[in-house]
């Protein structure tokens, strides 16, 4: 089994529901993409379950680039979760 340390960031109401702004987690080998990561997070606790209860309004970036849930997650990656942006 390969250890897969990944840095995760949460913004806006995802951050508020999860309860932390960022964390580094070691993922099991079967977590291969962002979608897998979300499924894994949903089982990580109540806050996570609430944050990811509905993934329709969840967006993500892998290594600071907007990505789909099908995007691969590799050891050392930075994955960020957030709602649709509302700046400007």
């Amino acid at each position: 089994m390969v250890e897969k340390p990944v840095h995760i960031l949460y913004f806006a109401w995802l951050r508020e529901r999860v309860g932390v702004a960022e964390e580094t987690v070691v993922l099991p080998d079967e977590v291969r993409c962002v979608g897998d990561l979300i499924s894994w997070l949903q089982r990580r606790g109540d806050g996570y379950a609430r944050a990811f209860a509905d993934t329709a309004p969840v967006r993500c970036a892998v290594n600071q680039t907007f990505a789909d849930f099908s995007a691969a997650v590799a050891p050392g990656d930075e994955v960020a979760f957030f709602p649709p942006v509302t700046g400007g």
Binding site: F11, A61, P83, V85, T86, G87
Partner: protein, 161 residues
């Protein structure tokens, strides 16, 4: 290369504009947009608007949007300043400047930049109301539609040309 800044402090529009054209004679016009925090959001009075962002990504995301505008409209200068943190109603929140030889390019690029900032830059707004409540601003379909006009135009170009 655009000037991009993400900061808590406000900005000086005159100074930013002068910085674009000072000492050069090729710029014929500068388009500009200043976004301001409004006091009412759907009837509720705002106490403050708090802007959160993704520091490791924000600068790069804005620089990419600006580079796209510079290339598409042959800009001779481009500035984007976005404020973060807690802002009060009536405070400026964002500044976009696009300098070009002619006005049409300058104004189109300005519209493009603010449309894309609203849909492609990692900022999130939270409204704190005078009555004590607070809520994260939801993305608006109209902003998505505004941004899409530029995509359509871009895709249509090869066919039209």
């Amino acid at each position: 290369m655009a000037r991009v800044a993400v900061q808590e402090a406000t900005f000086d529009v005159s100074k930013e504009i002068a910085g674009l054209y000072a000492g050069r004679g090729d710029i014929g016009g500068i388009g500009c947009f200043v976004g301001i925090v409004r006091e009412y959001a759907e009837g509720r009075r705002l106490e403050a608007m708090t802007l959160e962002h993704y520091p490791a990504m924000t600068h790069t995301a804005i620089a990419r949007i600006a580079a796209e505008a510079e290339q598409r409209w042959n800009l001779l200068g481009c500035t984007v300043i976005h404020r973060v943190g807690r802002l009060r109603p009536g405070e400026p929140i964002v500044l976009v400047l696009a300098a070009a030889a002619h006005r049409v390019a300058a104004l189109e690029a300005t519209a493009f930049l603010i449309d894309w900032l609203k849909t492609k830059a990692p900022f999130w707004k939270k409204e704190t109301y005078a009555d004590g409540g607070e809520a994260w601003v939801e993305a608006r379909a109209s902003d998505e539609a505004s941004a899409l006009r530029w995509v359509k135009q871009s895709q249509a170009e090869p066919t039209a040309g």
